[in-house]
């Protein structure tokens, strides 16, 4: 699927806007929201390449996000400059993938999902036990804190993730990955090394999730150590991909936009019960948008009465 020139132009324009934006923005709120948006786009697209394209439903993304965050935070607070600390987070996440994820890939279907979820959960508990309490920024870091810098960090991470994933998906690797998703046995008969492709998808996914975790650690002034391991980080990307459209490239981007907007609106307007409403919306989305927003046109098409088809007349008699 070659990129048409109009999309090229659009992407370029969007990128230009994104790069120039901070110059025109005043105040913290806007930039923070955009940082979160970039974060979610990265997370959900990373989930998408493993879950949507490769069909391996990873419910344990929080473990990878958390490991990235933990590594980066520890390194950075102890003096490592952030351009090294953040990629280190990405690498740590890949290490986790090698240790836990790759054996888990041998599991088919449900077991992979269950396995990854439990890993995330237990990681959450373990970190909560080992690192209770809050991680604070030291004086020097507080003094030199620049939101604009963090904005660009997230932007770079997101662009790197999107580009890598886009290229992968549209390459031979992408074909292999999708074939694996659709029918493992059939894929093998045409020479697709399904293990290799699952690993590639997982590696890419975990690297960028870890990187995002590093960004998170770099971004937040103070937070509970176990926060990036929280379960919401497992489910939010999945929900986002759902909203947007599983297995599509644009889906996670669209989904992230809707999600971040929705969350902010709810947080502002609903106060105490915002999580409840959020849960309800969550449920309703799954119930009524199983194919996401991107799948909406097709879904509507299906809803039209059959009569329209039958009326077109008999097909030409093949005899």
């Amino acid at each position: 699927m070659a990129i048409e020139s109009k999309w090229y132009a659009l992407t370029g324009a969007a990128l230009a806007v994104a790069v120039l934006l901070p110059l025109g923005m005043h105040g913290q709120y806007g930039l923070s929201i955009l940082c979160m948006l970039f974060l979610y786009i990265t997370l959900s697209q990373s989930w998408n390449i493993l879950g949507g394209y490769a069909g391996q439903v990873n419910v344990g993304q929080a473990a990878f996000f958390g490991v990235g965050a933990l590594t980066t935070r520890l390194l950075w607070l102890h003096g490592t400059p952030f351009p090294l600390a953040i990629p280190a987070g990405g690498i740590a996440s890949v290490v986790l993938a090698v240790v836990v994820g790759f054996p888990a890939l041998r599991l088919r279907g449900h077991y992979f999902a269950i396995g990854t979820l439990a890993v995330a959960w237990i990681a959450h508990i373990t970190v909560g036990n080992l690192f209770p309490g809050i991680s604070f920024l030291t004086g020097r870091h507080v003094a030199t804190y620049s939101l604009v810098l963090r904005y660009y960090v997230f932007l770079v991470i997101m662009v790197a993730a999107l580009t890598t994933i886009y290229l992968t998906v549209n390459s031979r690797i992408g074909l292999g990955v999708e074939a694996t998703r659709d029918d493992e046995d059939a894929a093998q008969t045409v020479g697709v090394n399904i293990v290799k492709y699952k690993i590639i998808a997982f590696a890419i996914s975990s690297f960028f999730v870890g990187l995002a975790g590093g960004g998170f650690a770099f971004f937040n002034a103070s937070y509970y150590w176990y926060l990036p391991f929280g379960l919401m980080w497992c489910f939010e990307p999945i929900l986002i991909v759902f909203i947007g459209g599983v297995g599509t490239f644009v889906g996670p981007i669209v989904g992230s936009l809707c999600y971040v907007a929705l969350k902010e609106i709810f947080a502002f307007t609903l106060g105490e019960i915002n999580i409840l409403i959020f849960g309800v919306v969550f449920i309703l989305t799954i119930l009524f948008f199983p194919r996401g927003i991107v799948g909406l046109p097709a879904a509507l098409h299906h809803a039209w009465p059959r009569r329209l088809h039958g009326e077109v007349g008999e097909r030409a008699n093949v005899r």
């Binding site: 599991l107 909560g128 959020f278």
Partner: protein, 291 residues
């Protein structure tokens, strides 16, 4: 003897974990619905037990006569509303969708609980709550004894029910091939509905026991976590295995406390879990391999 005392507590904990897990094993193992809200439902039942005790002095084990049927009805409603439409889905899709819906449910339930009952922890203290029975120097709490008893009755009862009754067999058939089960004359829709109700009723039993220990809106996910570990440890399709896996987990946890220290109980679960997943993914007692 210290060690034996630890073991005793481990067994009791394990039996409680198993009780929470059994409903999930039924719902997830047999019906392929990933009910993340299992623990949260047990939490609701625990609150119910607590309030029944507070208002009318009903012992949680007695109020089961109320909470279990109520749980059953809730299960029917939940299935009808949230999960029934997924019945025809492929297993992978069903698992994913049900997991997400259940997660939404968890958020809703926990938020309602927090709003209605505050985040404070509750606990039922009955007349016999502190009492222990002494067996050869071991102090076995009455509540623990009752918990183990209930757990065994429920789990082995369910096993018997699934293996020996026609309903149980039809459920098993459905879990293997739900289209063909239809052809046998099994009313798949109704059977699945009833089973889901049963699964939730079972979590009500767990709730009764939980109310004797600690209830707060946040405990739901913790219990689901334990339940999930057991379901994987035991393997799909194994009901008795849940009980044994529970004991295993409980014992391993207290062992890790005994030898290493209290902060690492969660890690014990992690280690066993990963080992089983890597070397015996069909579970310790399961019948099916992989998916």
């Amino acid at each position: 003897m210290e060690f034996a005392q630890f073991l005793t507590y481990g067994i009791i904990n394990g039996a409680i974990y198993a009780l929470v897990a059994i409903g999930l094993a039924l719902i997830m193992g047999i019906m392929g619905i990933f009910n993340l809200a299992q623990g949260s439902l047990a939490m609701l039942a625990a609150y119910a037990s607590f309030f029944l005790f507070q208002r009318w002095g009903l012992d949680p084990f007695l109020s089961l006569a109320l909470t279990m049927p109520a749980g059953f009805l809730c299960g029917l409603l939940l299935h009808k509303g949230l999960f029934e439409w997924m019945s025809g889905y492929a297993p992978g899709q069903k698992l994913r969708n049900s997991m997400l819906v259940a997660f939404g449910l968890v958020l809703v339930i926990e938020n309602i609980a927090t709003v209605l009952w505050t985040a404070n922890e509750r606990c039922v203290t009955t007349a016999y709550s502190g009492a222990v029975v002494s067996v050869e120097g071991l102090r076995v709490p009455y509540t623990g004894l009752a918990a183990v008893g209930l757990s065994m009755v429920v789990i082995f009862g369910l096993h018997f029910f699934l293996k020996r009754t026609l309903f149980g067999k039809s459920l098993w058939a459905i879990s293997q091939d739900h289209q063909t089960a239809n052809l046998m004359g099994i009313n798949v829709r109704r059977t699945t509905l009833i089973s889901f109700g049963l699964g939730v009723a079972l979590s009500a039993a767990a709730g009764a026991v939980i109310s004797l220990y600690t209830v707060s809106p946040a405990v739901g996910l913790d219990w689901t976590n334990k339940a999930l570990i057991l379901v994987v440890l035991a393997g799909v399709g194994s009901i008795k295995g849940i009980f044994y896996s529970g004991l295993l987990l409980g014992i391993v946890e207290v062992l890790s406390v005994y030898f290493v220290g209290v902060h690492y109980t969660g890690v014990a679960g992690l280690v066993i879990f990963i080992l089983v997943l890597m070397f015996r993914p069909q579970g310790l007692f399961g019948k099916r391999a992989g998916a």
